[in-house]
């Protein structure tokens, strides 16, 4: 939230194991995210990045291990505490997940109405501002079905930012965006971090954005079923901790 918290641990994942029934997706995940850091979760398709995100925001409970926010256990906290924590999160889902029965404006208005005391005119100002941040100014009255997939993604981003959250979770924000929008998105993420001091956790495959925005990166290895690297991606590229990370960061498919 404010600058003096910078440097304190915001999110801590301890010995996390994630499973769907008997099928263990990932085990033994350990990492810490500091206040105001931008952390990228990367790894091959289907390795469990979205699943990790769903655990971090409390939609699934871990089969083992713990997740801590500001040194307090999130997994074991009561329903009310969880709800309180949730209000400080902004989440962008992989498919956008806009409420299809509402216009873009109403999608952003809902959290504002629910948790702030703003007047209707203030709310509509905030809505236009958030939409303009993601390049969708003027689309207030459109329904999600009337815009393209990439636009839905951006509108989802605007909704995630509606309450100026302390932590932003983005699941593949730049998938389906053109290069220009996606680099503008990277700027936006850094800007949000700098101006609001938000902590940002991004799932992405986009190598360029990984190198541009990430302070740290978590690499999930689909073969080993655990994280095999954690640190600054530029350092990782210079001195790869293992071959899979090197191949991921250099787009080496290993077939030739």
């Amino acid at each position: 939230m404010n600058a003096n918290q910078n440097g304190n641990v915001h999110i801590e994942v301890r010995g996390l194991e994630m499973a769907y029934g008997d099928f263990v997706v990932m085990r033994d995940l350990n990492f810490k995210v500091l206040h105001g850091e931008v952390v990228v979760i990367m790894g091959g398709s289907g390795c469990g990045k979205s699943t990790l995100l769903r655990h971090l925001i409390g939609l699934r409970s871990p089969s083992k291990g713990d997740i801590l926010y500001d040194n307090e256990s999130f997994v074991q906290s009561s329903e009310e505490e969880k709800l309180r924590k949730l209000r400080s999160f902004g989440v962008l889902y992989q498919g956008g997940a806009l409420w299809s029965s509402m216009t873009l404006a109403e999608n952003i208005i809902l959290p504002l109405e629910e948790y702030t005391n703003l007047t209707p005119s203030e709310i509509s100002d905030v809505v236009s501002y958030k939409l303009s941040l993601v390049g969708l100014a003027g689309f207030e009255g459109f329904y999600p079905s009337e815009i393209s997939g990439g636009m839905r993604k951006r509108a989802g981003l605007a909704r995630a930012m509606a309450l100026d959250p302390e932590i932003l979770y983005f699941d593949e924000p730049s998938a389906g965006l053109d290069p220009i929008s996606s680099s503008r998105l990277d700027d936006l993420i850094l800007q949000l971090r700098d101006s609001l001091g938000s902590t940002v956790v991004v799932v992405t495959h986009e190598l360029q954005s990984i190198f541009d925005i990430a302070d740290k990166a978590v690499f999930l290895d689909v073969e080993k079923r655990t994280m095999t690297a954690y640190g600054n991606p530029n350092d990782m590229l210079r001195d790869p901790p293992n071959d899979n990370v090197r191949r991921f960061l250099t787009r080496d498919s290993g077939t030739d």
Partner: protein
């Protein structure tokens, strides 16, 4: 080239430590590939060869058919510890093969359903059913909590959604309910005409129609129509919101999907179903009156008089009560199935179907129970 030369064939030759597979002809799907089982009949270890090489110079055309064959050979080599000489394949084939092997197969999947014997599966199914039941119970509990919260004024209520649903389940349902209850009234009075005329008790047809429509058919038919119309729609709407993660998006905002989605729907049906059942009963009685006039020459005043003697206020209230109960059943089963929907498009279809089946089953069961209790108390 004659047709024989075009056909895909392979021959096996020994060359010292090697086994040479000589492929020739057109290796395309649908052009009669050699039986892939022949691979399994290849001579195995201990027969003096350690690797398999290919001679593909005789191949004139190929597609995925050849690849599936090669992958089969590769598997055979891996299981029997024989070296697979990939370098002897042409460049194209070799790189396609490498691509197909680049990502190892995910283990521990795809056998989940076939695993275990009869008892194992029986146990799994029972546990599944038990969990389903517990989930339903806790869902009903959550709905109840949500209603209490609303009554205490603690929870915000989505009035706009509520009005929309009221229109959907109330006003928009009027034509179909009218049509069905008109026909039901007609059927009852037709039955009455056939049966009662034999005993010369024609006038009592009004009794039959009024009693039947008010106490039974009005609410029952409306309930069944609404289960098919509205219950399925609720399940499909909520189910697809689940698939697109809209429900998750609500949850992570700290908004309870029960308050937000289920409650307006439940209240709308709770209010509209009694009205619809009254409406259905009135239309049914009207059509009964019309038919008895046409078929049995019973004048309208006589019919109305007979009706007044036959039914009393309790009959009316019983019908209204049933309508309310059925409304809650339709809403709960529709919303429950939607919320329990899986994560794919076909799960939405299943949810809708099962909402209708559950709804109708519980409507019939509760109808019988209400009648039974009413009979005990002489109502």
């Amino acid at each position: 080239m004659d047709a024989q030369a075009q056909k895909a064939v392979f021959t096996v030759e020994r060359a010292g430590e090697k086994l040479v597979l000589r492929l020739s002809g057109v290796w395309k799907l649908g052009c009669g590939l050699p039986d892939i089982k022949e691979i399994e009949n290849l001579p195995v270890e201990g027969e003096g060869y350690k690797s398999i090489t290919f001679d593909t110079s005789g191949i004139v055309g190929w597609d995925s058919g050849l690849m599936t064959f090669l992958i089969k050979v590769l598997r055979f080599c891996q299981t029997n510890d024989i070296q697979f000489d990939q370098a002897s394949l042409s460049q194209d084939l070799s790189s396609l093969l490498s691509l197909s092997q680049a990502v190892p197969e995910k283990e521990g999947l795809g056998e989940a359903d076939s695993r275990g014997n009869y008892f194992h599966r029986l146990g799994k199914v029972s546990i599944g059913k038990y969990e389903e039941m517990m989930a339903s119970v806790s869902f009903v509990g959550e709905c109840f909590q949500s209603v209490l919260g609303l009554l205490k004024g603690r929870r915000p209520f989505r009035w706009r959604d509520f009005y929309l649903v009221v229109q959907e389940v109330g006003f928009d349902a009027l034509p179909i309910v009218a049509l069905i209850s008109f026909l039901v009234g007609l059927i009852i009075s037709f039955l009455g005409a056939v049966v009662l005329q034999r005993f010369g008790a024609d006038v009592y047809v009004s009794y039959l129609v009024a009693y039947g429509m008010l106490r039974e058919m009005g609410a029952l038919m409306t309930g069944i129509i609404m289960a098919g119309r509205t219950g399925a729609a609720f399940a499909a709407q909520i189910g697809s919101m689940k698939v697109t993660e809209e429900i998750d998006a609500l949850r992570t905002l700290g908004i309870s999907p029960i308050d937000f989605i289920v409650l307006p729907r439940m209240l709308a049906l709770f209010l509209m179903m009694p009205l619809l059942s009254i409406y259905a009963a009135i239309i049914g009685m009207f059509s009964g009156m019309l038919i008895s006039n046409i078929m049995m020459d019973i004048a309208f005043p006589i019919f109305l008089n007979g009706m007044k003697e036959a039914v009393a206020l309790p009959d009316f209230f019983l019908g209204v009560f049933k309508g309310t109960v059925f409304g809650v059943i339709v809403a709960v089963s529709g919303c429950l199935k939607g919320m329990r929907c899986g994560d794919s498009a076909d799960a939405v279809g299943l949810a809708a179907t099962s909402a209708v089946v559950t709804g109708i089953t519980f409507i019939i069961i509760s109808n019988a129970m209400i009648d039974w209790v009413a009979a005990i108390y002489g109502m």
